[in-house]
Amino acid sequence: MSVPMISLESLTSTTSFDELLATAKSGGCASSSCGLSGKPNDMDPAIWEKIKDHPCFSEEAHHYFARMHVAVAPACNIQCNYCNRKYDCANESRPGVVSEKLTPDQALRKVIAVANEVPQLSVLGIAGPGDACYDWKKTKATFERVAREIPDIKLCISTNGLALPDHVAELADMNVDHVTITINMVDPEIGVRIYPWIFYDHRRYGGIEAARILHERQMLGLEMLTARGILTKINSVMIPGVNDEHLIDVNKWVKERGAFLHNVMPLISDPAHGTLYGLTGRRGPNAMELKALQDRLEGGAKLMRHCRQCRADAVGLLGEDRGQEFTIDQIFGEVTYDASKREAYREVVAHERRDHVAARSEAVGTVKAVSSGKSLLVAAATKGGGRVNEHFGHAKEFQVYEASPRGISFVGHRKVEQYCLGGWGENTTLEGIIAALEGIDIVLCAKIGNCPKDRLAEAGIRVTEAYGHDYIETAISALYAAEFGVQPLAATA
């Protein structure tokens, strides 16, 4: 077990540079693992350098770094059956939804305000709410303004791919080195059931022709990005009964064309959203169905499993959204970028990550040494830093890990309604949480009350607070060893 050197929470709540740096320095380097990075063994160092601070492209980075989206690109050139363009709600968290659209100048002010307050910020993404490549002038103007003020921020874009080939050269010129393309099919016959129409070359196309054009442009765009060494993530919406089995083909196609990551996301469908799928009763997959498909895709293009399907104006670590703190009407007067907080945070994270990597590799060794052949699904309540550091009642999501003879891997997250609000726990909320934790063997949290603990036990889910503030992997390895009848190896602290 490793001892926390310094608390990342204290970092994000301190305000002055001196305070922050003092906290950073006080940790020193307690770990024997100096020199290690979080880089997976099989990864090209040049690629690791690109993704190590990008929470969406690196699962490891998402414990430490935050993204923000600015909603500068509301115009779109295709219609998808899972999207309703008239929808707008502050309480909804899913792609395509925003509360305020921004001009490029407003976006710049917002990015500076966030960078001054949220030291974890490493990435600025434009993900609509329409299509960032189609609404290109606003996207480009935003990137140019922000890059001038905050040169070290990573620029990232998300697109349906139709207009992508027209802008690959400019993306490369602006150092946008992360691009996400939403690809839901590689067979136009399936595309017909997902896209009613596209707008391309000043014309509206429908039916098989629309799907064919979209497919060809997506493949062309992906190939052009790969040729330029721009990292690509492919997002696919898993739509049961439409493309769920087909995503196995999609995975193969995008891997062949150099995609770096494949992110299979569940369809979000509700009649109240007014989407075609919602209105016609097509349901999204549940967490176990999604995991089953993801497990079948292992071995193909590398999977992203830590996506939170965030809004087009989300701000913060992936599991949180602080967007409401930074609406444009709260940003007054002149805003000037102050780099000190982000710099100090990075220094601390560099230390902390080395320690985490050593702890993780030890934990994985413990699990492998047990060689039980069994697997354990563990859900952890965390507020960042890769540690079990959130109270059960305060968790808005649980991060799910699987321990098996292959080691410990992050397999996803389960969103829940916060159980404890103002000191009260709601029974109906708890039932919802128990349902969301389907299939989970053990829950890890920093604290939990007796009542929810007993209720979870009745539902067959064990909870432990014994590993509060430990690394999640360290806790899992101890549980796994205890569970399958072998003493944990070499606990260090």
Partner: protein, 64 residues
Amino acid sequence: MAFKIIASQCTQCGACEFECPSGAIKFKGENYVIDPDKCTECKGVSDTQQCATVCPVPKTCIPA
């Protein structure tokens, strides 16, 4: 000889503004508005009106 935008239906995505070949659409006050003096209904440019073709909401860009 002009189109108009039904403001109550408009999502304000602005696609029509940059697709309009006549530069007839601008954001004015709280809505996108088509200047009837500039709108040509895309005659001589395309068979269908660009604003109505790109608009995501049916029957929102219609003949005035």
